[in-house]
Symmetry: C2
Subunit: 373 residues, 2 copies
Amino acid sequence: MPFAPLQNDTFLRACRRQATPWTPVWLMRQAGRYLPEYVATRAKAGSFMGLATNVDYATEVTLQPLDRFAQLDASILFSDILTVPDAMGLGLSFEAGEGPRFARPVRNEAEVAALQVPDMDKLRYVFDAVTSIRRALNGRVPLIGFAGSPWTLACYMVEGAGSSDYRRVKTMLYSRPDLMHRILAVNADAVAAYLNAQIDAGAQAVMVFDSWGGVLSDDAFRHFSLAYTARVLAQLRPHGADGQDVPRIVFTKGGGLWLDAMRTLDCQVLGVDWTVNLARARQAVAEGDADTAKALQGNIDPNVLFAPPARIEAEVARVLGDFGAPHTDVHASGPTHIFNLGHGISQFTPPEHVAALLNAVRSQSKALRGISL
Amino acid sequence: MPFAPLQNDTFLRACRRQATPWTPVWLMRQAGRYLPEYVATRAKAGSFMGLATNVDYATEVTLQPLDRFAQLDASILFSDILTVPDAMGLGLSFEAGEGPRFARPVRNEAEVAALQVPDMDKLRYVFDAVTSIRRALNGRVPLIGFAGSPWTLACYMVEGAGSSDYRRVKTMLYSRPDLMHRILAVNADAVAAYLNAQIDAGAQAVMVFDSWGGVLSDDAFRHFSLAYTARVLAQLRPHGADGQDVPRIVFTKGGGLWLDAMRTLDCQVLGVDWTVNLARARQAVAEGDADTAKALQGNIDPNVLFAPPARIEAEVARVLGDFGAPHTDVHASGPTHIFNLGHGISQFTPPEHVAALLNAVRSQSKALRGISL
């Protein structure tokens, strides 16, 4: 049975640098703890992994923000970047208030040598969720699949948990670059297989979260993060289950200094955080040679959502204004902007402030274009 | 009694963009827990603040790294950026393993209104330490004084402690910018008075640590961090106790995207972290119009110090190479580099690796110049 036709293609059009009647918007971690309905479903599931591994629950929470906020232009698979190293046998758990933890981190030569691309059957629950969500969406908006970048996964795999200084993973990087390259190669091939299976299952775009690329030095970023993101992208299938092209988004938190280098990536969209000026980013990667130009995604500070609605609207105006006049020629490609936060939404965010932000993006970005196309 | 004449002026010369026979080097937090002799002195003092408020202990620990490492070209006052808000009455304590904490954070209108520039007599212990250290140095190397930036102090004052998301301080910034501007104005005037008193007491250079500037959005950085750093600089005395000019260093962690804006600051040196490519930074701020050009300070990843000496030497070569050929004309000003870490040294660093780094900087940077000047 084919998937239902897409009713709102603004997100995918913007990914392709095609004109849209408004600036499409979605929010990183839009299905999450700030929504009481999410908290209720998670309580039923018992744990985060109980939620992520149950196809019905994952479908339910993915759709919750869409049911609440009519202006969301994309959905994103509810899952976690650490499913891949978990499938490698590292033993993922989420301790209350502690964040993720691996029972068997990868720290010595033997542990690195034992790493392998996991059997994708162990991640079947993710691909089943993708298909289930795509069906449940019934064409409302496109579904984005995702994975962590090889470097970001390596951070967690070596540290065994989150870190404030990345001492263990950087000690390996600087002391035994051979071991680090081996981890990253395995991760890249695993992430590529994982994203391809999501594409086959129905994902209409895929995003690589390089959440920790920004902790690297300028030189190390190129060799230990960017090179392996490129290795992922080189293996991705260009077309999805329905024959459509599947745009690729790469988001490096703290990567604003390296946009020039990221322009060389074989992807359609670059995500940027709030430290980046969108006018400068547009100049660096969204204009010029159409073969390498990217759509831009981002970049409001999630903490803006703690301000009153009038201030939220003013900050939305600033972000839209920084990107500048949107491209409106329906017959050509040109600079496009996908509105998003610069990082995941905080669990403490008032949902009504999210509504204010989404309303502001839709109405202001329509007004910027003068009339609808 | 005048201070002893300076025997090693390479650091001050580099601050002034004058040629030096080698690239001067010092390390942020060089007097610290990675040194067993520091741990011993701290044990005697009983607590961090016991150490910082005792002139003899502060002098002792400031000189420890100089006694151990002959190649250090500068010393920095042993103290903490939070002494200033402590003197404002916020009640600073350091809980074991927890970092700093304020008993009375600044979160509402009344608390903001009550803030005042503290009586500098409450910080007399700092100025006494400056004079004591300067005398103890006896001209070996110059002494750097320092303070936190107005924004960085505000982060701690509003959050009440360190933070992973800066939710409280950014909520105030976005919701009540009037309150945030009031805090920052008080902080700027307090920091200026504090640094001037350090200059009067014998500091030969001063550094403003904008440790948390990099968490702000592009727009917010300009209005809430940079503008108040500029307000500090505008009030600083240009000359020290001995009539010499006192160079000013501004270090914004994560500020690499904003070097163009920072070029406008009335300071001589900009510090950069390891995400910055020094060749690009040199182009942006160290070349061209001598009235605005800056010396550059930084920027090796402190985690490099966990690698074996041969790898440390290779990374030193890369950082020196990124900056490029040093300026060697003794009759003119030009681009100069002060070697440092991109952030404070880790408490887990092996001291012998610090020796390897310092040796490598001295010998390699001499070799880069061909011969000594």
